[in-house]
Symmetry: C2
């Protein structure tokens, strides 16, 4: 990380320090249930780390439009809680043993309780969102959730199969970019009154920013999964391939590789293991066709598109922070 | 079933025939997803039977107040879809093989897809409810869902343990009566404008009716599980005891039985099987203490309370039907 971005990271953090702390307090309030095991699981999940990037985006979006109301705190907590709910159900589906370096909730509490804990977190986030008394907020959150759930099902169907770029972008939109987009849009919704046509100022521009940033974020995530070391990443590498998931660089190589190379990639995806073809062999194919560079270039193009999306936003510290985030996302190494 | 109630059952059905058919069409519309497997699972579940008692209650509630709007159809579909969503997740939790005489969805599609299909059904029902543009509708549905989910978690915690009547009533309220109550309340909400204090006419009376009826319904369900034959019930008998669940008659016997009798019941609950103590032995204990009669008397008292709750409702065919339903619920044999 360069000295410039360290300075800016601190700047962004300083700008949002109080709001992020308020969101953490909101989590504590919202994890409380009359049923003790729910409070236990919810606290474990919500307190258990996470980069809080979705609340951060919502806060920056709201701040860029001058919003000072409590709504930004409340909805910042909502988007993180919704994200957490999807992770709980994903861990059941992926039979994950760990998440963010700790035992996954299904390992600690079993699948049954975690199905219900996930359901509860969904409801708690809608319950909290309902306090806003704004239908636009609910429209955004509920169709978002439905898109994410559909995306997970699509992902299951495509495991082990070759997919094309269009399918890949649909999957990562649903997995990541959609919630980034809605987080940004909610920032716009809490910052002003709806116009005569029901639209909020900067709603679509901020949403576009979120979508582009989310795509860049997920492409980089997928590249790191292929190229980083387990030491740096803090989790096993190439887990996507071992789960039968083809990501952007792999799709690029599939479209350009020789018949033999295609066959090697296909083997790993179908086997969901590196037993017959090794991880270094796959990396060699990707590097040979410039596929890693292609994926990173694509991520950088989306990062740049994110910046362009908010070109018309009035100057402010929050806008400056939003201009910095895409570069941070594409230059991270974990 | 007496001739009088057969006549009345036909009357009730005739009264609601068109509305119930419209709700079935609404289901088809709502099961459609761009993701094929969701449409498959949703159609399988929603088309797969069920007594449609929740939509029926909502329709009678709305009709008793003279509602003619499409809202009653839309929300009738919503309450059944929400009910279906809870069943999908319950089947995963109970590792059920069958449901309503067919393979359960988790048997057909596996747990992973069914976790997501359940999530999708929840979202689809909220999405549809959102079309009403009425916060009261959403408040009712979302806190209802949260209460049901909490109830399932409470149930898991209490499996194999002795519980008291208070705990039993809390569990069956969350499991059944809560959704009956909300179905009736939604009938009130779609039938008039909110008053100055935000209340809807007959909201609390109709809600009380639903709560009382739901408690009666579940008590009878639990008695039938103990006393009916597999032939009549269409599913294995005494499944509650074999799952470690103490229901009202059992709790009654536990409080009145000798030390030896208590021990026999405790053994079945802890073993979750009839290997050491047989089902007829348990039934003998229950009959000796009049526990089955006690449970049925309690159900009938709730049925009567349901009728009392709507004493002030203006006379109509729908009110007459609502007066008939509690007797039907307590006299059924399956």
């Amino acid at each position: 990380m360069s000295t410039i971005s360290i300075a800016t990271a601190k700047e962004v953090f300083d700008l949002l320090r109080d709001d992020l702390a308020a969101i953490e307090r909101e989590f504590t309030r919202q994890s409380a249930s009359p049923v003790e095991v729910i409070t236990d699981i919810a606290s474990y999940l919500i307190a258990g780390g996470g980069k809080r990037i979705r609340p951060l985006l919502l806060l920056l979006s709201a701040k860029a439009l001058g919003c000072e109301s409590h709504s930004r705190i409340r909805l910042g907590a909502v988007v993180e809680m919704l994200h957490t709910a999807t992770l709980v159900h994903d861990d059941i589906i992926d039979e994950a043993d760990s998440r963010r370096g700790r035992p996954s909730s299904n390992t600690k509490w079993g699948n049954s309780k975690c199905v219900l804990a996930g359901d509860w977190l969904y409801m708690q986030s809608f319950q909290t969102a309902l306090e806003e008394r704004n239908f636009r907020v609910l429209d955004l959150l509920i169709s978002l959730t439905q898109q994410m759930v559909e995306g997970e099902l699509l992902q299951i169907q495509k495991l082990g199969h070759l997919i094309n770029e269009e399918e890949y972008f649909d999957l990562i939109y649903r997995k990541t970019a959609c919630l980034f987009q809605v987080s940004m849009q909610l920032g716009a919704v809490v910052s002003s009154q709806a116009g005569e046509n029901g639209e909020y100022a900067f709603d679509s521009q901020l949403g576009e920013y979120g979508r582009n940033l989310g795509l860049a974020f997920q492409i980089v995530d997928d590249v790191l999964d292929l190229t980083a070391t387990e030491e740096v990443l803090g989790k096993p590498v190439a887990s996507d391939l071992r789960e039968g998931k083809a990501t952007l660089a792999v799709i690029h190589a599939l479209e350009r590789g020789t018949g033999a190379e295609r066959e090697q990639i296909r083997t790993v995806l179908a086997d969901r293991s590196f037993q017959r073809v090794s991880h270094p062999q796959i990396l060699e194919i990707l590097h040979r066709h410039g596929s890693i560079d292609y994926a990173m270039d694509t991520a950088c193009a989306y990062a740049e598109a994110a910046r362009q999306s908010i070109a018309e936003l009035p100057a402010s510290d929050a806008r400056r922070a939003l201009m910095w985030v895409p570069g941070f996302v594409t230059s991270r190494d974990r």
